[in-house]
Each structure stands twice: as C-alpha cells, then as structure tokens.
C-alpha cells in the first residue's frame, strides 16, 4: 500500500535531518520520486550504522567460530596479531632508518618487528582496495552501480605489465610514471565503454560492467596464458615477465625482496583526497551529485545527464586501473594466468565502498578493515594452532558477506521498522 510506504519515508527523512536546524515538518514530508537508492544509502545517518554493521558481522562471525569448537576471543586475537595493527600499540624506543637514505633516527616504533612486517602486508593490500572502492563510490554518487571494478583493475594490471616490461631503457622515473598513466587511462577507457552504453542507449551499467569483467578476465588469461603474447620467457609457465626495475615503485618500508611497503599507499591516500575534493568542491562533483540524487532535476537545470554518466564511469575506471598499476609496480611485478582467475580485489573494493558509505574517509577506513581482515586470516599470518588457516579464509568471506548483507539490510531502517511495529501493536 502506498500509504504504508509513505509513513516509512517520513521516518527516514525526519531522522536524517536530526543534525540540521530542524524546521517543523508539515505533517510529514510527502514521498518523492527523487529520493533515489543512492540518496538513501549515502544518507546522513552518520558513522554509527557502518560501525554497528561491522560489530554485528564480527559477532556473528564469532558465533561461527564457536560452532567449530574454537574460542572466538582467542581466534580474533590471533587474527588481530596477523593484521599487524598491533604494531601501533607496541611503543618503545627504537632506531629507524629514514626511507631512501642511510641515516638513522630515533623512532617510537620498531620498524622491523614481525608486527611491522604484517602491517606492511596489510597496507599493501589496502592500496588497491581503496582504489577499487573509489571506483564504486564515485559512480554511486552519480546514481550508477559499478560492478566492474574487478575488470577495470585487471585492465590496469595488464597494461601495467605490458608497458612495465617494455621500454626497459627508459629513465626510471619516466617509466614508472608512464606505467601508472597508461594503466589509469586504460581503466578509464574500459569503464567508459559501460558509461557510453549507459549514456547513449541506456544499457544498464550493472549488466554491462559484469560482462566487461568477464571479457577482462579471459583476455588476460589469453595474454598471459600458455602461448599467449605476453607470456614470459619461460615456456610452459603461464606467467608474464617481471617488469623492468625502473618501472617499480620505490619501497620505503621493509625490503623489496620481502614485499616491503611501496609508496603506492600514499598515492591511494592522495586519491581519497582527490575524490573528496572532486565530489565536494568542484562543479563536476556538483553535477555528478545532482544527477545521482535527481537526474530529472539535473536535466531541467541544463546538466547533461549522459555526459555525467560517461564521466563518472570513466573516472571510476581510472581509479581501478591505477589500483591495478600500483599492485604491479608496487610488489607483484608480474602477473600469472592463475592470479587473474583468483583475484577478487574489485569485489572487496565494492564491499569497502558499501561499508564506507561512499565517503572518502569511509572508503579509506573500510579498505583498511578489509585488508586487515584478509591479511590477518591468511594462511601465512594466522597461527595454525589456534585456528586452521584453511578455514580462516572462509571466515573472512563470511564476515565480508555479513557486512554486505547488513549494509544492504540497512540496519538503521530495520531498527526503525521494528520500533514502529512495537508501537503500532
């Protein structure tokens, strides 16, 4: 019944305005077609809902652990140690080498402890999750749901490997810049296909980006696979050559050989800032948000909805493509056919964007959370005597799934609904 629906709309609107100077609403704001999916999910119900969502997901995950007969607190503690985040709490007095120099200085943390190495791994994983998260967040503000972060990321990795393993005599700075720029553009063009289809013939971006994901996977599998044009010099091994040393990003913490932390994390954080500025402080961001909230009002104001759909998708692809390039230039250096099939970074980014409510800070924090979770439960990090590592990966997936489920459920709305039912009966 439409009147039932109307009541719940009133509640949501009234709640979301708690923090502004509240004018008395006239008998409830009427339901409006312009309150789109985008405007509901990225509403102002604050930071509470994502935090509650996360806590609830961990509680349910704890139940699952208990069902396997293990002690959830012990397991979570072991995961915590595996993330390396405990590093921040182990303050002391140490000497640390200043990055890119031979000089040493006093530092309150031990930069070469086990925790430090774990943290490097977590931050390495955070980098592409931030970027694929932004690849979802940006079009979301324009009312588009980009499921294609995975494919755009893969295109970025493919071009990064290709350009990185070519031009071996190039000046290192120029080479690495070239790799990043080409991969970024490649991602943008790739996502732009979905954008153009949406803008011109109205093809739904969910469908087209899913299809583009598969195209990227199989093109990649062909390129790096057995007999493929980008397969490395070792025949019978379906892995590309390593990129040239000049195309590798500088590692500032840890050792290059042991997958130390590259400066890619700073590029990712800078992109969070760029995202915030573009969305909130530029006329492009203003247009994107107007289209996202109410395309009809945007059109009426002379904003080209089609152009914004295309730009939003292209920018998303640029973020994801850059993410792929940072992985290649930061620590992977090559790509194998099996990596392409196994990679799920794009989908983790999707979860991070949803949990982070498409805000810059939210995406950053959620990316760190997911990266820590994946790293903490990985076979390499988790103490096998406490929880079997082969099950730990499943636990990550369970928690990730629960987070997405709870975000989709909209816990705040659920709570209001329950409350309303209680008062009604």
């Amino acid at each position: 019944m439409s009147d039932e629906h109307r009541v719940s709309t009133d509640f949501e609107l009234a709640r979301s305005q708690d923090d502004v100077a509240q004018a008395p609403l006239e008998g409830g704001v009427p339901p409006s077609p312009s309150m789109t999916f985008a405007s509901r999910v990225s509403g102002v119900s604050g930071i509470l809902a994502p935090v509650l969502t996360t806590i609830l997901a961990f509680l349910v995950g704890g139940l699952v652990i208990a069902l396997t007969g293990k002690n959830p607190i012990k397991v979570y503690h072991a995961i915590w140690l595996g993330t390396g985040l405990n590093w921040f709490f182990e303050v002391g007095s140490y000497s640390a080498r200043i990055p890119f120099t031979t000089a040493h200085m006093w530092f309150p943390w031990n930069t070469s402890s086990i925790a430090a190495q774990n943290l490097q791994q977590t931050l390495l994983l955070t980098t592409p999750i931030i970027l694929t998260g932004l690849a979802v967040a940006f079009p979301f503000r324009c009312g588009l749901f980009n499921i294609g972060g995975q494919g755009q990321y893969l295109v970025g990795t493919i071009f990064a490997v290709w350009v990185g393993s070519s031009f071996v005599d190039l000046n290192p700075f120029l080479h690495v810049m070239l790799v990043l720029v080409v991969a970024t553009f490649a991602g943008a063009l790739y996502a732009g296909i979905a954008g153009i289809l949406k803008a011109t013939v109205g093809a739904h971006e969910v469908i087209t980006t899913i299809m583009l994901n598969w195209i990227a996977v199989w093109v990649g599998a062909y390129l790096f696979g057995q007999g493929g044009p980008l397969q490395g010099s070792q025949p019978s091994i379906p892995i590309s050559n390593d990129i040239a040393d000049g195309a590798k990003l500088p590692v500032f913490w840890g050792l290059k050989l042991l997958q130390g932390l590259s400066i890619g994390i700073f590029i990712a954080i800078a992109m969070l800032v760029v995202y915030w500025i573009v969305i909130n402080r530029t006329s492009l961001g203003y247009e994107v948000r107007a289209v996202g909230f109410n395309p009809e009002a945007a059109r009426y104001s002379g904003i080209s909805v089609a152009r914004n759909y295309f730009l939003a998708m292209a920018i998303a692809g640029a973020f994801a493509g850059l993410g792929g390039a940072l992985d290649i230039t930061g620590w992977k250096y090559n790509i194998g056919e099996s990596d392409i099939h196994a990679s799920t970074i794009g989908f983790i980014g999707l979860a991070a964007a949803l949990l982070g409510r498409n805000t810059a800070l939210g995406v950053g924090l959620a990316s760190l959370l997911f990266a820590a979770l994946f790293n903490g439960t990985s076979g390499r990090q988790l103490d096998p005597s406490i929880f079997p590592p082969d099950l730990a990966g499943n636990l990550t997936t369970i928690i990730q799934g629960l987070v997405i489920l709870f975000v989709g459920l909209n816990l705040g709305g659920l709570w209001l609904w329950l409350k309303r039912r209680r008062t009604a009966s």
């Binding site: 077609p33 402080r281 530029t282 006329s283 059109r299």
Partner: protein, 509 residues
C-alpha cells in the same frame, strides 16, 4: 442532547518525529450531513482522515461510531464499520473494466473461483442507478474520464457498504463542470442518508456543498461552524490565522516586445503520440499569458518543448529573439528562460541538496559561484543567505536540505532561484500547486511584480481562478491546440466550456 452524532473523534493526537500532526482533535459527523474539513497543506487533515480510515493508529484519543467506541487497526476494519474513502489519487486498476474495479476483493464468483462477470455488471448497474452515479460497467478504466473514474471510486466505496464517505480533495482533478456534477452526486447521496466528510482547501466549494465546516490549523481544530453565514474571508482567516488578500491587486499590463514566440509547434508525448498540435503563441514583456486547460491536454509537453527538455517535431520557438527550437536545455536557459516547473519535487529541487546548493542549480557554472571548475562555497552561501531573506523562506538555513522545508517554502526557493537568474521569459507551471492560501498569495504577488519588471510570463495552471486573477490574456488549450483566446474578464463557465472542446461562438449562441 438531541441525538448522538453518527461518528465522533475525541481528543485524537498523532505525533510524527518532530511534528505534532494532530493535537487533541475533536470532530463529529452527523447522519446525513456534508461536513467539510478545511485547512492548509500540512494542517493535519489527511493525517486525521487516514486515522479514521485505519491507515494510522492515533497516539491518543477515541473514535466512537453511533456512541460506541471502535478500534480501527486497518482499512479492512474501517470498511467493515461502513467507512469508505475516495483518495485524491485514485486506487483503480486501469486495465480492468469499471465493473471489475468496483467488485474487486468482494467479487461474485462462479463455483467460488471464477469471476461471475454478469452478476458483477448487474450489481454495478443497480448501484449506479440507485445513487444516480452513471457509469458504463464494461468500459475500461483507462479509457474513461477522470470525473468518471472518481464516480467509480465512489461506487466502489458504496459497494463495500459505506455509510460514511471520506472524499480527499475530490475537486482537485476535475474541470468546473465535473465539479458541479460531483456536487449533484454528493447532494443525492446526502438525501439518501449517507454522511460525507469533504476535505478541501478551496473556500468557495466548501461554502457551496458543506453543512458544517471544521477548520484545522497546525494540527489543532480552530472551530466548527455552520456553513450558512460563513464567508470566504472568514474561513481564510481561520485557516491561515491572519487576514489574507484573496483577490490579486494589479495595474493594467504594459506589454512591450514579444519575448517568447512559439510558431506552429508540434510535439510528441512519451508514447510517441502528438500532444501539441500546430500551437502558436506570443508572450510580450510585461504581460502574463495564461494557459487554461484540463490536465493532460498538452500543457506539460508544451512547457517541456519550450524549456528544451523535449524534442520539437516541427515548428519554431524563440526566446528573446534567439531561435532555441532544437537547442539543449542549457542553451535555452542561457537565452533568458526562467522555469518554475510544475513538479518541484521531480524537477524543481534536488531534495537531499542543501538550500545553498539548490539555489545554485543554474548559477553554479559561472563565476562567482564557481571559478575554473571549483565551487566557490562562500559565494554560494552569501547568495543563499540573501535569497532566503529576500524571499522570506522560513524553516531553514542555507545548509538545510530542501526536503526539510514545507511545500510553500520549497516553492519560494524555486521562485527565488528562477527570478534571481534575471530571465527575460518566465514559465510558471502550476506555480501554486499544493500550496496553502498564504503561500499562494506570496507567489501571486511575486509573479505580478516580475510582470511589472518587464518580464514575459507564461502561466500554465489547472486552477481557473488563478488563471483569471493573474493573466492579462488567456488562451485555452484542448487536445494540444489553442481553441480560444479570452480576456481576463471571461467567466469560469466560458473558459470551462472551451476547455472541454466547445467553441466560444457556441457559448454565445
């Protein structure tokens, strides 16, 4: 005490978060009367009636039917108690026939499964003859007029055994003639003992049809008075709480150059059918041209085409001498068009945007609102502060989301933005739709002001009263064509006749 009222609401209170929609409302309905419920938008009329129809549960208070307290937890319970409601937006299934719609949910069946259509038709006929509500049982609902659809809604309620009928703004969608017919039907229902609650904010209608009038203001009953002896001015004062100017004062127009010229325009609607057919009009600076017509006779398509939001099939549109026939919306806006859209929620505002952002909806492209692609938030804020003050927008700061404002204040925001853009031509499409008396007065005064400032104003409205009081010239649109031009001294009857396809000379004859 002569006789207990048929229905009594005692001390009804309903709260929504941040709002007291009904505050200890007392209301009673006598058997066989028409009781009008009058109030501005947001006064709590609909909330009260939704409580009576079982859609909301009151926080406090009692409902008594024939002296007995009753519980209304659902619409089903309300129907069982003989309460029927005709919503403003009809709840009919367009692809079904009239008879099918009326018997829906309680339909007569063959062997308990299949619809017994003949029985349904027969019962609809009987009912329609008994109450003088003529409908064609076999017609599909989407093929009959709005007035007939309303009759179907009333019949549906009667079919379910309604003794009490609630009509929510029933005349909002009707032509003057259809409204007259509706009043006849209501009188006939009354004479057969039905009791009617008539919700409206139109004063003249209330005086014409009601026996008693209850006025609500901000959720509180102001008074209940007999309709005989009440005046429009008196009711308006009760509704708004202050003196209201019901007539618009204006000087005669001083038309200048033609600023909006439309020639032989043809426009298609969403289904690809021709909605505007060979339409020509000219609006000069300093005049208001009113377009009168029944809803869905091509008005929306005409406005969309002029504003560059819908492709033109053939013809020509010029704004301030510049041909914008096939231009995008942005070009038309730049040529000097201001546009108060007919649906401020769908088009006029981005509801989750702040007022400051909404006010910048056209101006954000150019300095000082944005410089080299970066928004100048300080300039946007300063402009918002100035406009909110100038247009007396209440209930919000520049940071308040537009969704938090009342309808009247939202419309003031749209008006402020469009007028501040300094347009040559201003389209005002249903500028007072859904607004209360006070806000209507404000919008009308501003439109006259803009006319006197030399702008060309194209006013499209379904409210004849508004067309007649504001326009300097009136064109009547029917099925996408202009069927007559009238001076503002024309009567509602003359216009109404033309609006339904009649010719002016036939009226004279």
């Amino acid at each position: 005490m002569a006789e207990a009222p048929l229905l009594e609401l005692r001390g009804i209170t309903k709260r929504f978060p941040g709002v007291l929609a009904n505050d200890k409302v007392n209301f009673d309905l006598r058997s066989g009367e028409v009781h009008a419920l009058l109030g501005e938008n947001g006064a709590g009329k609909s909330t009260l009636m939704n409580i009576l129809y079982g859609l909301y549960t009151p926080d406090e208070g009692q409902i008594l039917l024939r002296g007995e307290p009753i519980e209304l937890g659902s619409t089903k319970a309300a129907i069982e108690h003989g309460i029927g409601m005709v919503h403003q937006h009809f709840m009919l299934i367009p692809v079904m026939t009239v008879a099918e719609n009326i018997v829906l949910a309680t339909e007569p069946r063959h062997a308990g499964v299949l619809l017994d259509y003949d029985a349904a038709r027969k019962r609809v006929r009987e009912l329609s003859e008994r109450y003088g509500l003529l409908v064609e049982p076999d017609a599909r609902v989407d093929r009959i007029t709005v007035g007939q659809q309303q009759r179907v809604e009333i019949l549906k309620a009667l079919f379910r055994g309604a003794e009490i009928l609630i009509l929510d703004e029933p005349t909002a969608v009707l032509t003057p003639q259809e409204a007259k017919e509706l009043f006849e039907i209501l009188r006939s229902l009354k004479s057969q003992g039905k009791s009617i609650i008539f919700i409206s904010h139109k004063l003249n209608e209330v005086l014409e049809i009601a026996d008693r009038v209850t006025t609500l203001r901000r959720g509180v009953v102001v008074d209940t008075i007999p309709a005989s002896g009440a005046t429009e001015e008196g009711l308006a004062r009760m509704m708004v709480g202050r003196e209201v100017l019901l007539r618009v004062d204006k000087e005669p127009a001083k038309p200048t150059d033609p600023l909006l010229v439309v020639e032989h325009l043809h426009v298609l609607d969403d289904r690809g059918l021709e909605a505007v057919r060979d339409l020509s009009l000219t609006v000069r600076g300093g005049e208001i041209l009113g377009i009168a017509g029944v809803d869905a006779n091509g008005q929306s398509e005409l406005i969309d085409a002029v504003a560059g939001l819908r492709p033109v099939k053939s013809g020509r549109i010029a704004v301030d001498g510049r041909d914008v026939t096939h231009e995008r919306a942005k070009v038309t806006l730049d040529a000097g068009l201001g546009h108060i859209p007919e649906d401020r929620h769908r088009r006029g505002l981005v509801l989750p945007f702040s007022l400051s952002e909404n006010l910048a909806l056209h101006a954000y492209r150019k300095p000082p609102m944005s410089i080299r692609g970066f928004l100048n938030l300080r300039a946007m804020l300063a402009r918002a502060r100035r406009l909110l003050k100038e247009f007396d927008v209440r209930g919000g700061t520049p940071a308040t989301p537009a969704a938090a404002l009342s309808g009247g204040n939202q419309q003031k925001v749209v008006l402020a933005r469009e007028i501040d853009g300094d347009p040559k031509v201003l389209i005002a499409a249903q500028p007072t739709r859904g607004l209360d008396v006070g806000a209507i007065e404000f919008v009308h005064r501003r439109l006259i002001e803009q006319r006197d400032a030399g702008r060309a104003i194209l006013l499209v409205s379904l409210e004849l009263e508004e067309i007649l009081s504001l326009s300097d010239r009136i064109l009547v649109i029917y099925e996408g064509r202009i069927v007559g031009e009238f001076p503002p001294t024309a009567t509602e009857e003359e216009l109404g006749f033309a609006m339904t396809g009649g010719r002016r000379d036939e009226v004279a004859a």
